[in-house]
Subunit: 367 residues, 2 copies
């Protein structure tokens, strides 16, 4: 059974439990997850009776045949209405839909189509499935973990090459470094950077999500790199903070503190651990050192087909970790006007110690 | 008065006409258009009484101060609910919202917030404004036209440089050419390519939206390049089809036909022209030559903050052109298994002849 098929069977069981006879999946990443389809327009009618239907438009007929060989295909420019009509034809009493994805106009359109298709007969009820597919996606299967491994390896390799070639030297600008990092990831097989690469040097490193500009790298400055590669749709996410030429004592102290916090966060990743407790494990280290106010964001987040997905790991989070979840651990200490350090890994939660996917050293590198 | 302010005054008049006392603008591009804000989270409460409020979260406090100096700022992580509460506090009977943008969950959340904020008093009614801002955006003001000019100039220059340097020669792959074109546009100041650059050679050129792969350029083959640059958020869009080394008679014939059709389409761009008639002006040329079935898409589309926006110009379109609209004209003839030609410009509709923004020659270039 293909991976996509296995995933559909899990959703089918969820649908049956909830008393739905079909689920109309419209979120494109959820469609990709459940079918393997990578085009820009597609939707899935998943049915408890197994008579699933994948819908797309004429641009993707060939691609759908290759990527989704095991689901019946419906080609129609108005994909979602066409699937809804077919849901009525195949018999539906209660259809699940994704209320976090469908717009208000989309829902009204769907209601009209169902009423028309019912042609005077009983009109199926629409019921939100909430984030059922996202919840399923939080736990990765073996293929997904393998894609994440590759994505992380590309980022590791790109940074190693840039460092080895002396590309991270005083006089270069943040923009130049960011573009070279992106180009290197593409050359190594990434489909795209995971997000807009963050390169922040000197005082800019104290801004958690600084956008690279023409600031030049200078000796004695921090250089914070937060970046990732997308491979087979899966996103890696890694932050490393280096120092150029020489490290001052205050820089070594902040770095050691963040590294200790990050190690504590990684150690807290265990099956059943509460996400708030995982955040606290790392945060307590920084708070105890008197820098609590300088760690201004959550500890981490899930990664996969999206760069930010379930579970969130932070003070406002909820829920516990499960084996197979892919998450980041990324504490930071930011001293406004001076500089900041963040250290971030992507890891897989397992029944034993978490599997580290971003393998670049976390020793303080003085380049 | 700033451009953003002028745009808000137009929307304010629309809101008043429709009996709304405020409009909650959630579509991020519409927010950008109406405020100048370029961050990833922001919403605008526009009020007929002039007491507008721009909302964003703490990451963007500084940026909002710089980009949106003339609108009162509200900083709240839950931006839209916070604006809705403030709409009640400032007095609202009927609030417009964007039903094509807001999700079903988003609307339900908004309804709850309004009911809570009303605290037993009258709860404001929510009414869709439909695509009021998109309709306004279809007609560009002078600043927008200038951004589009720059975006088109970057694309023109990037292609000219690649051609001059011999980068479009047999032996290179589609992927290599695409990446060089993208890199050149970035180096020339583009924020990003307008969309995934299309490079299609040989038989691939017969696929309207072929994704570049490892196919090598070969002498005697068509090379179709469909690409654009984003500058200040505005997208250019241009297609040119070249021939490598030598052009066969059939290639010259197809090229001349598409060029004639494209010229007819451009000539039909006039204030008041029906979009279906504009499509027909270009399509009739191709149909008369017996290739109607090989022109498989619409003639063009609006461009601006989105690569595809209003107005659509095609057989299924509706409406007429107005001065200041930015549109593409892009007929194509695709001969499956052999090759295809598309020629596309970005132009501004004016009271006189349309202003051509993509200035690269449309003579058949044999490289």
């Amino acid at each position: 059974m293909s991976r996509a098929r296995e995933r559909r069977e899990v959703l089918r069981a969820t649908a049956a439990e909830r008393g739905l006879d079909s689920v109309l999946v419209t979120n494109l990443l959820n469609v990709r997850y459940l079918t393997g389809f990578t085009g820009s327009n597609g939707a899935l009618l998943l049915r408890v009776d197994g008579r699933d239907l994948f819908g797309t438009d004429g641009r993707y007929t060939t691609q759908a045949g290759v990527q989704v060989p095991d689901v019946e295909l419906l080609v129609d420019r108005a994909t979602v209405p066409a699937l809804a009509r077919e849901a009525v034809r195949r018999g539906s009493g209660r259809i699940g839909y994704e209320s976090h994805d469908l717009t208000v106009d989309g829902l009204h359109g769907l209601e009209r189509v169902l009423a028309d298709a019912a042609a005077g007969g009983p009109v199926p009820e629409l019921a939100s499935v909430r984030r059922a597919v996202e919840a399923q996606r939080a736990v990765k299967d073996a293929d997904e973990v393998e894609s994440l491994r590759r994505a992380c390896a590309v980022a590791d390799q790109a940074l190693a090459e840039l460092a080895a070639e002396g590309a991270l030297r005083p006089g270069r600008t943040e923009l130049e470094v960011g573009r070279e990092l992106d180009a290197r990831m593409l050359a190594l097989g990434a489909e795209a950077p995971s997000f807009e690469t963050i390169v922040a040097t000197g005082a800019n490193s104290a801004i958690p999500h600084h956008r690279p500009d023409r600031t030049e790298l200078r000796p004695g400055d921090f250089l914070k790199l937060d970046f990732g590669a997308t491979v087979e749709g899966y996103h890696s996410d890694m932050t490393r903070t280096l120092v150029l030429a020489r490290a001052a004592d205050w820089q070594r102290e902040v770095y050691a503190l963040v590294a200790e916090s990050q190690a504590a966060g990684r150690a807290a990743l265990a099956v059943g651990a509460d996400v708030v407790a995982v955040d606290a494990a790392a945060r307590d280290v920084i708070v105890a050192a008197g820098h609590g106010e300088h760690f201004t964001h959550g500890l981490g987040h899930g990664v996969g087909l999206e760069i930010h997905e379930a579970p969130g790991i932070g003070q406002q989070g909820a829920g516990t970790l499960a084996a197979g979840m892919a998450v980041t651990v990324e504490p930071g200490v930011y001293l406004p006007g001076h500089g900041g350090v963040r250290i971030e890994d992507t890891l897989i939660v397992t029944d034993d110690a978490p599997e580290l996917l971003t393998l670049t050293s976390k020793e303080l590198l003085v380049l």
